[in-house]
Symmetry: C2
Subunit: 297 residues, 2 copies
């Protein structure tokens, strides 16, 4: 089982201006992922614009993805919602459609307390009954999980993993050790923030939850394979090669860059949901130049 | 016309655990506001938990409110949504139900750029066609409006006001002067954050967008009346009397305190939408003690 391990690839969810998911385009993106043998698919993550899609469209996306992936790799589905009852419904929809796991972010408007987030997660985990990954993404949810809360949640049935942001590569080994010591045995600790993820896995992280992996799975699986083989220098060299892409991510946001890339590569025609705008033409031109130089497609 | 002037009172939106709005309870709260002759009602603000309610429930709330208020004071309705098209629909619903103005927050998940927020607001303002108040609330939307962006929006047709957070009372007079100088003539600049709002109006703010005013309209209109009459010392004394309430707001959040208060006063039985939890019993007891000592009900 490769759930919560290795490269978990997060594609965008192509949709039209009204938020109708383009399942044919989604299948094209998913085929790239299974062809490259990623460890798992992370459907409807932040890159998959889950909070901008209706419940019906999210269910359509899951149904198409489960069918397209065909059991080759596990499919984890983002079920975050502002309301607890809505997250439960989204989780039950995902389970009904055949998802293997769910990814739950503490989406907030009014800032939430630790107790509220704990109760939210425990309620959803019990009602859904699929392996659940805690989605710690302060940049979008504006809630930051402390070690203590993650450890407490790791002892809740079905809560099996955390996706932490690898924000500070230097502090990561220490925080990972502290989290391993505090959380339940077998609990998976993985990382997002692509440009620090190689270091996070070298430090002992279980998984890389990757935006770039959603479009460039070969380049990212190569890095993970080098790490698994114990070839740290090779992994670092492969990661350094992608630095121009990481620079674009930090300058324009990985989400906006990914939308530019799918269009530049001709994989599909898709724009991010408004109010998010497509990047201006000069930015798209620079992204095209980086793609050409990296020969990633 | 008292739109975007004086005390704008923001009630909670009582709803059951499934998010069904209790329009009878809402009418009870609104009657308090018109009885106290607030300047306007701010329906479905952050205190009114707008992002937690479906489009249908938001429409039901507006219809009940417009009917209950009966034209005695203007009704401004929060129409914030993650998607631009959804904000447009909510604005058109509010207009169709007879709202006098709309309040638009740049609700975000992926962080938004200034250009994206400008386009979002211009699109909604044009499509809705009601006077629009910019809802600047970084604590919930995680977008902060700069003076330049507000000034640019002030020149967009229908954009008539801004609701700014009075976060730093000391810096407020200077920032207000800068905003007045940059924005279009007649553009209204009002303030939220109750505990600094009296100072904000003394500094020349046009309106106080008030959480406390949604339940204690008499105590708040009294402060605004003293300011309008030029009695700054009296206004400050009246405001200082409410300090125990402001302390509760900063400790527990105004939203959670308001829910405790409606139940303590027996105005209705309502809980905030999960994952937000009712305050623990010891907090409720302390809130009850403050209410009793202030004799606010």
């Amino acid at each position: 089982m490769t759930l919560f391990q290795g490269l978990s690839a997060f594609p965008i969810t192509p949709a039209n201006a009204e938020g109708r998911v383009d399942t044919s385009a989604l299948r094209v993106l998913l085929k790239r992922l299974t062809d490259a043998r990623v460890s798992s698919v992370g459907l409807l993550g932040s890159t998959g614009t889950y909070p901008y899609l209706t419940r019906d469209e999210r269910r359509r996306a899951v149904e198409a993805a489960v069918d397209q992936v065909g059991g080759r790799v596990p499919v984890m589905v983002g079920i975050g919602a502002l309301r607890t009852d809505e997250a439960v419904r989204l989780g039950q929809d995902a389970k009904g459609a055949g998802a293997d796991a769910v990814l739950l972010a503490p989406v907030s408007y009014a800032p939430l307390t630790d107790e509220e987030v704990f109760t939210h997660f425990a309620t959803v985990a019990e009602a859904v009954g699929l392996p659940l990954c805690i989605y710690n993404n302060p940049g979008t949810t504006h809630f930051t999980f402390g070690t203590e809360l993650i450890a407490r949640l790791s002892r809740v049935p079905h809560v099996a993993a955390v996706k932490n942001p690898a924000l500070d590569a230097g502090a990561l080994p220490g925080s990972l050790r502290a989290l391993r010591a505090a959380s339940s045995p077998g609990f998976s600790v993985g990382y997002s923030v692509d440009w620090h993820a190689a270091e996070a896995m070298l430090a002992g992280g279980d998984a890389w939850y990757s935006v770039a992996g959603g479009l460039f799975p070969a380049a990212c699986t190569e890095i993970v394979a080098a790490i698994k083989a114990g070839h740290a220098d090779e992994a670092r060299a492969l990661n350094a090669r992608l630095q121009p892409l990481w620079d674009l991510f930090t300058e324009f946001s990985s989400l906006r860059v990914m939308y530019a890339v799918v269009n530049l590569l001709g994989l599909c025609r898709a724009a991010p949901p408004r109010p998010i705008l497509p990047l201006p033409e000069d930015a798209q031109r620079r992204i095209g130049q980086v793609l050409g130089a990296l020969d990633l497609a």
